[in-house]
Amino acid sequence: MSQELKGNSKDSKNIIIIKDLVKTYGGQKILAGVDFKVKRNNKTTIIGASGCGKSTLLRLILGLEKFQEGEIFIEGQPISKLDEDELNIIRLRFGMVFQSAALFDSLTVGENVGLILKEHTKLKPSEIAKKVKEKLDMVGLADTYAQMPAALSGGMKKRVAFARAIVNDPSVLLFDEPTTGLDPITSTTIENLIKDLTDTIHATSIVVTHQISTILNTSEKIIMIHEGKAIKTEGPKKIMKSKNKMVYKFVNGLVDTAPKIV
């Protein structure tokens, strides 16, 4: 098994390879053998019903949680074999935007965005401030530098989280439900930011969402998680008329893809 997995890791086109991934919580299989690849500089979207394991998948990619079976290869490295220090080296190549934005309440916006540079580089405070302002400007929030996160709206918090995720120019950006709970106009702004920022820093992006507009606006490749497995789908242009019954029902909001309520 491990040799088979090793064989798949030598793939320079794909920045992330997920192989037979199994994740269980309290004996219940959330992911039951997920397989897919993420191409370098590609925009991948992961869709699926609430609670299907989409966000868990992002956390597993970053090594924030352990999985039971299978493997995740990042740039060819099997992450289950890495210790915390080695994982940290990989994490520095990623930028993650959490569903709740996850800004640190006790730090200002500027300190939030610049924290990773302060902790991991030898840049002077003035250089960090310059970089932070540049990234805040990219998300249209240059004037919030000295504000506390509590003073910002939900959409602004998400944009600050974007600035924080790109401040060290990572090669992969992960977005967990970036538009959930936002109004349509703010959602469109966020979707445009995802596309623009990913292109500007030449990054690979993985967006986890169940918002149709986000799926259509930010994807090149779409994967649906259903009953613990990854289903390949058509691209954003054809997904609304998908030939796969499950995918068709999900994107068109037909009820029988919803999790059963017992």
Binding site: R59, L62, L64, E84, N88, I89, R91, L92, F94, M96, F98, Q99, S100, A102, L103, F104, D105, L115, I116, E119, H120
Partner: protein
Amino acid sequence: MNIIDKTGDFTLKIFDYVGSYCIFTALVIRTMFTSKIKFKHVLEQMYKIGTKSLPIVGVTLMFVGMVFTSQVAKEFTKLGASKIIGGIVGFAVWRELGPLFAGVVVAARVGAAISTEIGAMKVTEQIDALRSMAINPFSFLYVPRFIALILMMPILIIFANFIGFIAGLGIYVALFHGNPEAYFSSASQMLDVLDISAGVLFKGPVFGFIIATIAMFLGVNTTYGAVGIGKSATRTVVAILISIFVVNFFLSYLIF
């Protein structure tokens, strides 16, 4: 599920919880010696935990010293033993009341605050955000609080003892027309170095250790949003208070 299953299940859960607490504490101590800890973070916590606790510790011990002295003075004066009141108050405050009440106040103020802060960071994914940025929560969050509490508890206890003892003097002089010189002289005759230092040097760091590790452990194990944060804060204060009372008994028994 029968009673045997339930008892077994409960016992396993207790062992699991205690085991997790021990592992968490061991990781905090290991990180303290193996990772680079920013002195600035420790100083910030020392200010938040220690300096900001001074007023409430002071007010608490002032009234504790006053009530204790008034009761002791009333009875001792009846017995004609008013000359040793300073020594009795000194014994009580330096050995027990100062350290214990300082611990209780810090448990309520700081323990609950640490548990709530870390719990909120856990449920709002801020701890995951730290890890996603390759920042170790142990060196960034937990160790500075741990060091700050261990260093600041002895200082708070010195302050508590001093306020408690002086408040006692105030009551002794104001209500019982006692002689301040007799108060100090009986205290200096009855108290030895161990009485004055044990509460500070032994109980202080131990109470700091208990408050820091329990508050952080229960905070980091918070689940279920706002309700979970409230539950963690309550559990933290209860667990710390019980632990401090039990440990205080054994420390006093062993030391004095």
